[in-house]
Amino acid sequence: MRKFIQALSLLLFTTLFLFATYKLPDWLPADIYLRLDPLLGINAVFAAREIIPRALWSLILIGATLVIGRFFCAYVCPTGVSIDFLDLLFFRKKKRPGLKAEAHFRKVKYFLLVLFVSAAVTGLSLAFLMDPLALLTRFYTFFIYPMATTLINLVLDALRPIFKALGWVTLSHLHYFQAVYYMSAITLLVFGGIIALNRLVPRFWCRTLCPLGALLSLISPLGIFKRRVNEDCNECMKCQKTCPMGAIPENPKGTLLPECIQCRTCANVCPQNAITFPASFSLGGEYSKIDLSRRGFIYSLAGGLGAGFLAIQTPFTLRQGKHQLIRPPGAIPETEFLRTCIRCGECMKSCLTNILQPCLWESGLSGLWTPKMEPRLAPCDQNCNVCGKVCPTQAIRSVSLEEKTYAKVGTAVLRKEMCLVWAENKLCLICDEICPYNAIVFRPVEGFRRPVVIASKCNGCGFCEQRCPVRGESAIVVVPNGEIRLKEGSYVKEAKKLQLEFKPDPGDDKFLLDDSGFKIGEKTKGGGSLHPEEKPQPNKPKGFL
């Protein structure tokens, strides 16, 4: 029964994850697991110092835990499911050394919780490092998803001749877009480490490290259902040995209530059938206490505050105004963005074009794993606004397509010394051809038609940077200059105020012709010889003689 619910939960998590892409229906909250996570909620609300509507969903989980207890870890948590499943796969038959001084280890998760919450109070979002849901979403995004795509495409490639022979046209041309991400390896190492720790004891992560588990265990002793052992118990200690959470003390009749996740493994193994989980309203007496030493508490508090200080005030982090990061359209102002973003990676997964990539150190300690745009890899498509839709803390605002178009992320800048037209007089015009907003126009300069960026028409989508045929770095790059970052209110209004216009408008193409006053002479009528190395003709539209 428990395994079934667990499998269902992981399936739901995975399905929602798959749905988090273009074109996500408006009614589907693909980020629901992340919204339900109270640790992420508290972290974002404390760090951002305001109520985040989507974070209020986590009150559901808090309420349910208050009523039922710490069931989340045993039945719902997809990270827990993954740990259980992989444990079964790798370590079932292994003899585990066990954990000496487990009581001490167990405290670590509380220290981490204090550390993360106190860091959040200073304005540093840090819980993402170890929050199980952010961590698993990241692992799915940076590893499982690209890996699964590769495998599926390999299978499709292998079966292609068969599909072809059968005349299945669509299948024989099926290919899934292969997303690539920086930091896939790091993410795999972190997750692999969590699984490897199970070699010591089952659910090592959940027992000793998980800060979300720590948060839930603070309130779980209030829950109604509690483990009870009746007189039939012959103290065989079987339950104590099999408890995956180590929640049964030397006296098997007792229960460490904060640790108990109500998985009922003990009830299932008890030869006397002496264990039940009836509803009861008593608090669990001495075993419900969480023994967090004062010293440990103070150390972790200091650690959190210290980390916050380091990340925000010192040379360990870059000055926010100096970074060259292009944030996704709709990202709130940088300071608030760093505080609110929980680095789950959902935006990067959902991104249609794969332009969104995780930061490593580009904006310092406080910006780890935050999304940035890499226009050289891919452009931001003007018909897609899914990154904001799936952001569980709305660090990227969910806005309409029109609003998103006006959420300018930066401005393209031409590097003339690299541009084929400016530097080599070549007939290149790819940036102009691909620009969705006619922000690049050709103007006669020194007898040649040269591309020029009209900044007020460029919203930084990056099509030009991606398509520029110059090898290596692009000759036209998007820089953050001119980005519009709003915490609230309309991007359209703001852009109009700044006299920006990202709309179909052929005006400037005409300008060139009207101004140049060229005439098409009769002389070309007879044909005449053409030279491949023909000089560019500044006064005519390209391609015409």
């Binding site: 018909n383 790819i430 044909g527």
Partner: protein, 308 residues
């Protein structure tokens, strides 16, 4: 020889004239093989009706598509823009041709393009997939992976010696090019011949390394559609190929076998960038013409015009 009249009598003259006229009438292609012999059909009207008429005027689709054949339709669906931007072929034009092919007994119709924008978006927004979804045997494919292309040689290539093209056009299938009429910032206009670039893998090299106009002519020596249907129901007369730009509504559908002739006529129907041009003034068309790929002077073409 007195008394005998020299030269032509009235009777003889009339006889001769009558037989001459009769011979002329009989031998004039417009009367005998009217539909088979036109170089170009130019039909004005709604997209679907005009397309149907254009096919008919060219001798019917069964002239090109035989029972059991595979057909490749190459519309322009390269941009994730809706039809009113005129950057992509009108869905009704494509659907009408696809339907006609199936009715003519085609075993399979593949509608394909190597899209510039992301495939899903192009398919969704260009409307061609939606328009064709109820026609059995028609498959819409937007191919963006190199594995679906194969390299071929260009024996007559001047700047391009080999090129990777979509595999589907290499077997014996019938290729029908269905471009949209639009301006192009590198080649002046983008119609049938420029549209062939949607069948190749590496387009960047056309822009960055080669003379694009020569390369297009090279490409046209190896990719030869059996029929070109130019959708000028709307024409993007500036801001092309990606738009946004000025959209005019000539309400025309043109069809022809000669790819240069179709494009050349297409150049003449509207002013581009506010200027009137002739086919000869479009460099890649002129080069293609000079290399013997088709006629460029539209006054020498037999054009069938009609309004539906």
């Amino acid at each position: 020889m007195k008394g005998r009249k020299q030269g032509m009598t009235r009777r003889k003259f009339l006889q001769g004239a009558a037989s001459g006229i009769a011979l002329g009438l009989v031998s004039h292609p417009q009367f005998v093989f009217a539909k088979e012999e036109v170089d170009l059909a130019v039909i004005s009207g709604e997209p679907a009706a005009a397309t149907k008429k254009a096919l008919e005027a060219m001798g019917g689709i069964s002239r090109f598509v035989k029972k059991g054949q595979r057909v490749v339709l190459k519309p322009n669906m390269s941009f994730s823009r809706t039809p009113e931007f005129a950057t992509t072929t009108h869905p009704q034009v494509v659907a009408t041709v696809a339907q006609a092919c199936i009715e003519a007994g085609a075993q399979q119709v593949l509608v394909l393009d190597h899209t510039l924008h992301r495939a899903e978006l192009c398919l969704e927004r260009a409307g061609i997939r939606e328009a064709c979804k109820n026609i059995p045997g028609v498959h819409i494919l937007a191919l963006q992976e190199r594995k679906f292309f194969r390299e071929i040689k260009i024996p007559q290539g001047k700047v391009l010696e080999r090129v990777e093209v979509i595999k589907e056009i290499l077997d014996d299938s019938v290729l029908i090019n269905i471009p949209v009429a639009k301006s192009h910032s590198a080649t002046g206009v983008s119609m049938g011949i420029k549209g062939l670039m949607g069948l190749i893998w590496d387009r960047e090299v056309f822009h960055s390394q080669l003379n694009i106009n020569q390369a297009l002519a090279d490409l046209a020596t190896v990719i030869k559609p059996q029929l070109t249907i130019l959708d000028a129901t709307r024409a993007l007369t500036s801001g092309g190929p990606g738009g946004p730009g000025e959209v005019k509504k000539p309400n025309l559908v043109m069809a022809g076998i000669d790819p240069v002739a179709v494009d050349s006529y297409g150049v003449s129907i509207v002013p581009w960038y506010g200027q009137t041009f002739k086919g000869r003034q479009v460099e890649h068309l002129l080069i293609a013409h000079q290399r013997g790929l088709g006629k460029i002077d539209i006054d020498q073409l037999k054009v069938f015009k009609e309004k539906v």
